[in-house]
Amino acid sequence: MVLILKQSIRKYGKGLALIVILLIVWEGIALLIQNNYILPRLGEILSVLLQPAAPVLGGESLIQNTIQSLKEVLTGFLCAAAIAIPLGLLIGWSKEVQIYLNPTIQILRPVPPIAWMPFAIAWFGIGFNSILFIIGMGAFFPILINTVDGVQGVRLRWIEVADTFHATTFEKLRTVILPGALPVIWTGLRVSFGVAWMCVVAAEMLPGTTAGLGYLIMYAYNLGQLQVIGAGMIIIGIIGLGADTLFRAGQERLFGWQGRE
């Protein structure tokens, strides 16, 4: 136990040092200016975080808001992946398809997902479906682009092996192209999840929403409760970090062969 602690300190200590310094600076300035509407004390943020199941500002609890945001992100992310991966396989596989689709994709890709908000509200109304659409838009392109790259980077020799065994086109896609491209697709998923997480918070800040971390932040802002905003931001950051860590761990477990073939 002590050993594990020592190892973690050695591994993460240097990175944590800066966080500790920032917290001290924050607390110092907060003490100096004594104004909760500019800089809330750390203790106040902490007291919000330490009561995750209690109603916040007369509304839902931190946990409920977090679950709402996670639900939206996961749904949007999975929908985006379900469309982007097959489409990416098709585009990467067929030059012809790529020629037809590429200009459209390249024009749509740089549009910030939030810019779709007015259309989203016009098409899907206020609420879950609109937020889903925004998240989907944000999550879609990183997955698509990486899937196309991944497919195009699959070693020709592997495809030739499948050819010598007379694999059908579908078998080649399933047994060679998809697994060969998967490490790059995985990177796309990782990036995409980060984007989706940013989108959900932004989308929930828009009028008409009634739950979620983004909503909570905006609501707290209207009431001047900056300690709640701080707590919300910390949760967002920690969940983002957690997701990224999971994706990285998955990468090492699943694709240990990468770069060693």
Partner: protein, 251 residues
């Protein structure tokens, strides 16, 4: 003996826009059942191209490939081993070996697949590594797994494109010995491209020598030495030197 593979007038020219590069010009020879034939020649004489055409990875402009077994159904009758082992890195050794067997074209029951895989793991001494991934194996083991994968579909001829040239001398000799043993055990026919005259004389019943650019058959040299062959044997050395001279175009 009836040939399992007859190569008849294979001609191939690579075209890239305006430039065209003749690779093969009417190459013909037969490979008999259970024969080991080595294909040699200077760089760029089209040896690999010929192998790829036989393996179905490339098309000939003219000529034909006749294979006695196969082509009645869609099953491949030739299997290929590449210089780089070309194993799928995301599959275990076992899964790599059964790759070709699991494809719909083979339509095999799972028991048959397991049976074949196990006997091939025995044959190539990879039992202990069945569940390892390619990157966990040595170069020699990778190439043995690659040979096992190719043999799994019971090909009428095993095509090998410089299969051992990336290996160190000792591993290489070990695998060459296994080729001879596999031929004996499984009655396999081999057509193998090699750059190494010693390897060719060590293994081949006949050596087909192509001349360069475009490739045509310059000579077919029978190697009449009993197996196992001894590279220090004066007769062996004589043939090896003869092969070397022929490839250099000096005789």
């Amino acid at each position: 003996m009836e040939p399992v593979l007859s190569i008849d007038g294979i001609t191939k020219t690579f075209r890239d826009g305006e430039t065209s590069c003749p690779a093969l010009a009417g190459v013909s020879f037969d490979v008999a059942a259970q024969e080991i034939v080595c294909l040699m020649g200077p760089s760029g004489c089209g040896k690999s191209t010929l192998l790829r055409i036989i393996g179905g990875l490339d098309y000939a402009d003219a000529g034909s490939i006749g294979q006695t077994s196969g082509n009645k159904d869609k099953k491949p009758s030739a299997a290929m081993v590449f210089q780089d082992h070309a194993l799928f890195p995301w599959l275990t050794v076992y899964e790599n070996i059964v790759y070709g067997l699991r494809l719909s074209v083979q339509n095999l029951p799972e028991e048959e697949i397991t049976k074949r895989a196990e006997s091939l793991l025995d044959l190539t001494h990879l039992n202990a590594f069945a569940l390892s991934y390619p990157h966990q194996l040595s170069g020699g083991m990778k190439q043995r797994a690659s040979v096992a994968r190719a043999l799994a579909i019971k090909p009428s001829v095993l095509l090998m494109d410089e299969p051992f040239s990336a290996l160190d001398t000792f591993t290489r000799r070990e695998l060459e010995d296994e080729v001879v043993r596999i031929r004996q055990d499984l009655k396999t026919t081999f057509l193998m491209v090699t750059h190494n005259p010693e390897e060719a004389v060590y293994l081949a019943d006949r050596i087909v020598i192509l001349s360069g650019r475009p490739g045509v058959v310059a000579a077919i040299l029978p190697v009449d030495l009993p197996y196992p062959r001894d590279p220090a044997d004066p007769a062996f050395i004589r043939i090896r030197e003869q092969v070397t001279r022929m490839i250099q175009g000096k005789s």
